[in-house]
């Protein structure tokens, strides 16, 4: 079942106040997010990712197109009862302490005081912020604010959570903990919409991703499909002579990187074995053969590079 559906979603901004010149932040953007998945949105700066999230949350108005969340048009505020949000560079009122932030945003989500109190205890424990609950947030570090922001986004036990750069400013251990929290949420059937610059992180936790560039959808699909294993083998070996190098290039179409490393591309395992036989016959010591994996980062760089 689709939790989010957009059809031909477009957003135009005026480049300056009172200017007729328009900037297209979203261009006929259509996609779907399924219930219970972690969906990642990727793209370079200015691709329209945050604009997309803001339209889905009613913070920014769309110019045209359709948006459905929980199978309903987003004309009223009711759907926001089931939504959590952690904005990029969020700013909580700095006169509040951690507990008061949770209380305020919990009540703003329509929760009762009793429910907020109970949820606050659980969530502050979950994000490891319990001992700082009475400390004013102006004394918090960036990482602590992110943890609190994540807890705030979960206060109303939302079915759909939008996270805009949730690990920004968080140390590697904290990032791992946040990933674990997101996995845990997914196991509980929550849908997570994630915008992160950390592609390795997205690759680790997202089920599906959409790649945006200049307001348009460039590619979308399952992470394992996008980062499929390629037919390229990286071979490390003992030093090879120039003659052998030439034969590798001529007979096997290998790409020589150095005197002890080359790439060999084939989708036929017999071909690979023929290459290995050739190397062994010429007394070349094989140190390692590794099938190259197309990481999300590689794929992203290639894709965006080809679009520019």
């Amino acid at each position: 079942m689709s939790i989010i559906t957009t059809k031909n979603l477009s957003k135009e901004y005026s480049s300056k106040s009172f200017s007729k010149e328009k900037i297209l932040a979203l261009n006929n953007f259509s996609f779907e997010v399924e219930s219970g998945e972690i969906f990642g949105i990727l793209g370079p700066n200015g691709a329209g990712k945050t604009t997309l999230i803001k339209i889905l949350l009613g913070i920014t108005h769309r110019t045209k197109g359709e948006v459905k969340i929980f199978d309903n048009e987003i004309n009223t505020e009711a759907y926001k009862m089931k939504v959590g949000y952690l904005p990029e560079n969020h700013k909580f009122p700095n006169y509040l302490n951690g507990e008061q932030v949770m209380e305020f945003y919990g009540k703003m989500s329509g929760m009762s005081s009793a429910d907020v109190g109970k949820k606050t205890n659980d969530l502050l424990k979950l994000v490891d912020m319990e001992k700082w609950r009475k400390t004013k947030i102006k004394k918090y570090s960036k990482g602590m604010l992110q943890r609190l922001g994540l807890a705030q986004a979960m206060i109303n036990d939302p079915e759909l959570i939008f996270l805009d750069e949730p690990t920004d400013g968080v140390d590697p251990i904290g990032r791992k903990e946040i990933r674990d929290i997101l996995e845990n949420l997914k196991d509980r059937g929550k849908t997570i919409f994630l915008n992160s610059h950390l592609l390795s992180e997205v690759e680790l936790i997202c089920d599906r991703v959409a790649i945006m560039h200049k307001g348009s959808l460039v590619k979308s699909g399952r992470v394992d499909e996008i980062t499929h294993i390629s037919d390229n083998y990286i071979i490390n070996c003992s030093d090879v002579s120039e003659v052998i190098m030439n034969r590798l290039m001529m007979n096997f179409k290998a790409t020589i990187l150095s005197i002890n490393e080359f790439h060999f591309k084939t989708d036929n395992i017999d071909e690979l074995n023929r290459l290995i036989d050739f190397m062994r016959q010429n007394n070349i010591l094989i140190r390692g053969i590794q099938r190259e994996k197309n990481t999300l980062e590689n794929m992203f760089i290639n894709l965006i590079g080809s679009q520019n």
């Binding site: 913070i59 505020e77 904005p87 969020h90 009122p93 006169y95 009540k107 989500s109």
Partner: protein, 270 residues
């Protein structure tokens, strides 16, 4: 519930920014000065003298104090409250804060109304403290319990609400605390007093009908805090109020500006 949470958060912000404390301190200072004044020998002598003239003498003295108090309170409201609440909207609109607020299940109309209600209630309670204490001191000292003086709380709150609606609008459009303060001060201290005395002063100097029409036009469309102040004084002194038009037109101004604020806020992308 959500609306009330936002109203209370305005209070919390006022407490955190020491606005409430500031008003409490200034009000307390005014009350203490007042307490000191009515206990000094010369004033006590005046009270005794007026008392000798009977209830009417005491009544006149008490009302005289009350009228002075209205002017002091009006100045306090304008100078202190307007400065204090001018930051409410720009701070709400700060990036990262407004995004979160708009992601919650509350309409943009209710956000504006909650901020307006919060600010107005803040001033109302502050005035209850200031006017209420002055009234108790004055009444217990004179033995004349003049209840109409308490209406001042409502009239001054109304004056504040009218100007505050404009501050909200300017805050939304400009996102600037300084500009909100400047415009409201310019309106309250320069434009409104000039328009208030237009017939007595300007029209005797400028006889051109077109200019007079333009000045009258601005008088009728802009808020009239000075007229409301005069009406409040008339009510307390027991004089007949000539016209309540300034009150109604000022309320209309407030409603129009609040509607414009809601319209602008609903259309705006954040």
């Amino acid at each position: 519930m959500i609306f009330l949470t936002l109203v209370l958060s305005t209070f919390r912000e006022a407490v955190a920014k020491k606005i409430f404390l500031g008003f409490f301190a200034i009000s307390t200072l005014v009350i203490l000065i007042f307490l000191f004044l009515i206990n000094v020998e010369s004033v006590e002598g005046m009270v005794d003298m007026m008392g000798a003239a009977g209830d009417e003498g005491i009544r006149k003295l008490v009302i005289g104090f009350e009228v002075a108090m209205i002017d002091i309170s009006y100045l306090l409201i304008i100078t202190f409250c307007l400065i204090s609440v001018s930051s409410f909207i720009p701070s709400m609109l700060e990036k990262g804060n407004i995004d979160l607020l708009l992601s919650k299940p509350i309409s943009r109309t209710n956000i504006i109304l909650a901020k307006f209600t919060g600010g107005v209630m803040l001033v109302f309670f502050s005035l209850v403290y200031l006017i209420g204490f002055v009234w108790i001191i004055l009444s217990s000292k004179s033995g004349f319990w003049h209840f109409p003086f308490l209406y001042t709380i409502l009239w001054l709150t109304l004056s504040f609400a009218i100007i505050y609606s404009l501050i909200i609008f300017i805050g939304l459009v400009s996102q600037s605390t300084i500009l909100s303060i400047l415009v409201s001060f310019f309106l309250v201290f320069i434009v409104c007093p000039i328009l208030y005395v237009r017939e007595a002063t300007i029209f005797s100097l400028v006889e051109n009908n077109v200019v007079q029409f333009i000045i009258n036009f601005f008088y009728y469309i802009l808020p009239k805090p000075n007229d409301i102040n005069k009406i409040t004084t008339d009510i307390i002194t027991g004089e007949e109020v000539n016209s309540y038009m300034p009150v109604f037109s000022s309320i209309l101004f407030m409603l129009a500006v609040l509607s414009a604020s809601v319209f602008y806020f609903k259309k705006k992308d954040y």
